[in-house]
Amino acid sequence: MDFLRATTWTEALRMKADRPDATPLQGGTDVMVEINLDKGRPKALLDLTPVTELTEWSIHDDTVRIGAGVTYTRIIAELADRLPGLAQASRTVGSPQIRNRGTVAGNLGAASPAGDSHPPLLATGATVEAESVDGTRMIPIGDFYTGVKRNALAANELIRAIHVPVKTGPQYFSKIGTRNAMVIAVCSFGLALNVAERTVGTGIGSAAPTPRRAFEAETFLAENLDWSFENELDPVVTKRFGELVAAAAAPIDDVRGSRDYRVHALAVMARRTLGWAWQERVNGGNS
């Protein structure tokens, strides 16, 4: 195994071009587990932590560009007002020590269907900025996940940043696990309402080979939600929304939970997050 240490982004891209077999390394919260437990042994590690430009975030045109080295701890502390869904999901990642190291870009690189970032990224319509010596590619999040722990990155590409739209309405994230900390999701769900455009975004985690949206549920809710938020939330709409979210999943039985439990839990989480979103509007949020 080789250890490659990039000190600038340009150098990182050149190293990845020379060594497409190198595994990029940020917080190590996935990669080092694989190595420590001898589940996989990369030919080379490409350490990106010295690349300081990756640790910055900025806002352009109502979109937050999150550098690949921004940790979950910083998303929670610095971006919760603009990206509440992603911040909520970030709070459920591992433990303080893990959140101090782990990054959204790392979650995307690992592309586990259970990754906590994925539902809010899907619900908000995020875009992955991938770069190589050949140039930059903007990959819509829905095209990014290609299979279990597989993604759309080419062998010479690295994730430079993730572009996430600033909130346009209530956003909520819910996750099922055996305790509140150090939990890999049994399943998870993210909801984002765009109040001005009257559209709905969803993201399902850990209940299909890849994270995925619930398209029919989104369309149904966009057409049937009372966007004036003046009356009571219609229980018939809520129930149907939950059913359609559950119907969009394709879970398996595994060590963390059964297929049936996941389907049931998804419907519950869809109803709950919709209830929270509704309550936020009723309580005077004009967000």
Binding site: M1, L25, T29, G94, M182
Partner: protein
Amino acid sequence: MRVNVTVNGTPMIADDVWPGESLLYVLRERLGLPGSKNACEQGECGSCTVYLDDVPVCACLVAAGQAEGREVLTVEGLASAEGGLDPVQAAFVECGAVQCGFCTPGLIVQAHSLLAQHDGVPADVEIREHLAGNLCRCTGYEKILDAVRLAASRKAGS
């Protein structure tokens, strides 16, 4: 490969480091600092918690090469040079927050980081949240919470 890292204020050199090796292994096996404990090796238990440039992390998930040129503070570095215990360590002793002791170094470093960022006495929910990544299989955590509250109240009162 060679790794240059400052540990507890002292510049140190580790040689013959395997590229996939963790900072934890370097600390324990190459630099003679076995205070940070090796248990789960997957970031679940917090027994190996150390400061990396003032941020508490699981040393088992830091590749040794990522510590190049950086500063690490381990549980061995918390006590004063004269051997006086850090207030968090003293509170753990006084409250009997230790049984087998294996989780203790990680809990002390993580509790130390909570107090470092907190002026008053943290609410119980804050303490629990901050220590959620440190597992103890003996104490049931009550004495640990007592110790953190004691150390925090002394710091707030001083």
